[in-house]
């Protein structure tokens, strides 16, 4: 679609809708910026002073929303938000396109979370300001990928030559879909895909991954234990109740995998265990004391990664 037909966009506007919208070089630029912010937070404390970020969350969120808001405030910017979309203009029947065009007139940057797949792609078409996808249905969650790659790089020191085990809901888990595509672009990555039959990685995602890197190793398994000894990274996910049409299916699959210290005995000593959070039952609280469990560090690194992204999109980096 001809972008110009839809209204004025800021010159050079760039969006972050899909984890592949940014090249590995773009990611590296953001990682370097995030590192420098972590080392000296004061340097960027007023970088976004006078800028306004709008957060539109049509699905529940605690971590992503707070992470974005904390990131913007730590850069000296302000945040406006919709308290409850159920009582907003959407309840009056306003289209997403109209909401985005309106909010884009108030703010310098929009973060959108929406239950429908591709919602952020549509919103980016209409937004006059940079738009960040904060999660669209089961499809994409690129800023979680930014967080995940930054965590792997920080903890492992590299983003190549890694065996990455992804475990749990690989069908509806948007963080998995985004991460696997982005990681495929780095050399010598091997994937171990651990899930129940019903929650396997969708063929469409496998196809995208194989198009990006023909012959990439995608090994599927239903047994977490048999994959643990090989893994450099274990990425656990929650079985998401909200993605099931049928409650019975959810209850049957909810406890398919539970990571415990006993299971981790067979893993490498320098493995890292990641999770996009929130966790429910899939990681035992007894795991938290294990130095290989980095999921809370991952959440904190995510805030710095989002600070870098916001500064970059607003052109103040």
């Amino acid at each position: 679609m001809d972008r110009e037909r839809l209204g004025p966009a800021r010159k050079g506007k760039r969006d972050f809708v899909d984890s592949l919208d940014f090249s590995p070089e773009d990611y590296q630029r953001l990682f370097s910026l995030a590192d420098s912010i972590r080392e000296n937070p004061a340097r960027m404390a007023k970088a976004c002073s006078g800028s306004l970020m709008a957060t539109l969350f049509y699905e529940p969120s605690t971590r992503t929303r707070l992470s974005f808001e904390a990131a913007m405030r730590r850069l000296g910017g302000e945040v406006i938000t919709v308290a409850d979309p159920a009582t907003s203009s959407v309840a009056k029947g306003e289209s997403l396109a109209d909401t985005i065009r309106t909010v884009g007139g108030y703010a310098d940057l929009i973060v959108l979370r929406h239950p429908k797949e591709g919602a952020a792609r549509l919103a980016a078409l209409y937004s006059p300001v940079p738009l960040i996808n904060g999660g669209d249905g089961a499809r994409e969650h690129p800023t979680q990928t930014l967080t995940d790659l930054y965590t792997i790089l920080t903890c492992k020191g590299r983003l190549e030559d890694l065996t990455v085990a992804l475990c749990g809901d690989l069908r509806y888990g948007r963080t998995v879909h985004s991460l696997i595509k982005a990681l495929t672009r780095y050399p010598d990555i091997r994937f171990l895909l651990v899930s129940p039959e019903e929650l396997r990685l969708p063929d469409s995602v496998k196809e995208e991954v194989l198009l990006l890197r023909p012959g990439v190793s995608l090994q599927e398994s239903e047994q977490l234990e048999e994959c643990l000894p090989e893994a450099d990274v274990l990425y656990m996910t929650r079985i998401q109740k909200e993605r099931f049409f049928n409650e019975e299916d959810y209850l049957r699959l909810r406890d398919a995998y539970v990571l415990t210290p006993e299971k981790l005995q067979a893993a490498k000593p320098d493995l890292i265990v990641m999770h996009p959070l929130p966790r429910v039952t899939e990681i035992s609280p007894a795991m938290d004391a294990d130095p290989r469990a980095v999921y809370f560090q991952q959440a904190r690194l995510g805030m710095y990664a989002r600070m870098a992204l916001i500064a970059d999109l607003l052109g103040v980096a």
């Binding site: 679609m1 289209s95 997403l96 396109a97 109209d98 929406h114 429908k116 797949e117 591709g118 919602a119 792609r121 549509l122 209409y126 669209d136 249905g137 089961a138 499809r139 469409s204 196809e207 995208e208 198009l211």
Partner: protein
């Protein structure tokens, strides 16, 4: 047998599957043209048994990118000076707007009236397109 004059300058869409001519006429918005357009239906054909034909006079620059999707068997004949100067079998367009709807119930296009349906070609051989928004594949 019905007779329609040959055209001096224009395009003849030949070998249209019988019954499909009207849809192509509408999709190409030919009813709004000022120069003559002829839609011939159920014309005897040795190759197809019956076929439809559309003759469009006065232009060579029509946007025909949709044709391969609407009817892959079509032949496009470009006419100048009353003679066929070029014959083309239309190729699948790289990007399609408005012709295909996404069947994924979780796609934003299922609920958003303002979302223009956009599909991008991912595999020419298998005629496979992917929804610009949700990534769902469709074979045409």
């Amino acid at each position: 047998m019905l007779k329609v004059d040959r055209i001096e300058l224009g395009i003849v869409l030949d070998h249209i599957r019988a019954g499909n001519g009207l849809r192509i006429f509408e999709e190409l918005d030919l009813g709004r043209r000022e120069s003559p357009v002829a839609l011939l239906m159920s014309v005897p054909s040795t190759k197809l048994g019956k076929k439809d034909i559309i003759k469009i006079s006065g232009a060579l620059d029509l946007d025909l990118t949709k044709l391969a999707l609407l009817d892959p068997g079509i032949t496009v004949n470009y006419i100048e000076g009353g003679e066929v100067v070029r014959k083309v079998r239309p190729e699948l367009p790289q990007r399609v707007e408005g012709l295909i709807r996404c069947k994924n119930p979780r796609c934003i296009t299922a609920v958003e009236p303002s979302a223009p349906a956009i599909f991008e070609l991912v595999e020419r051989g298998r005629k496979r397109y992917r929804c610009y928004y949700c990534g769902e594949s469709v074979t045409v």
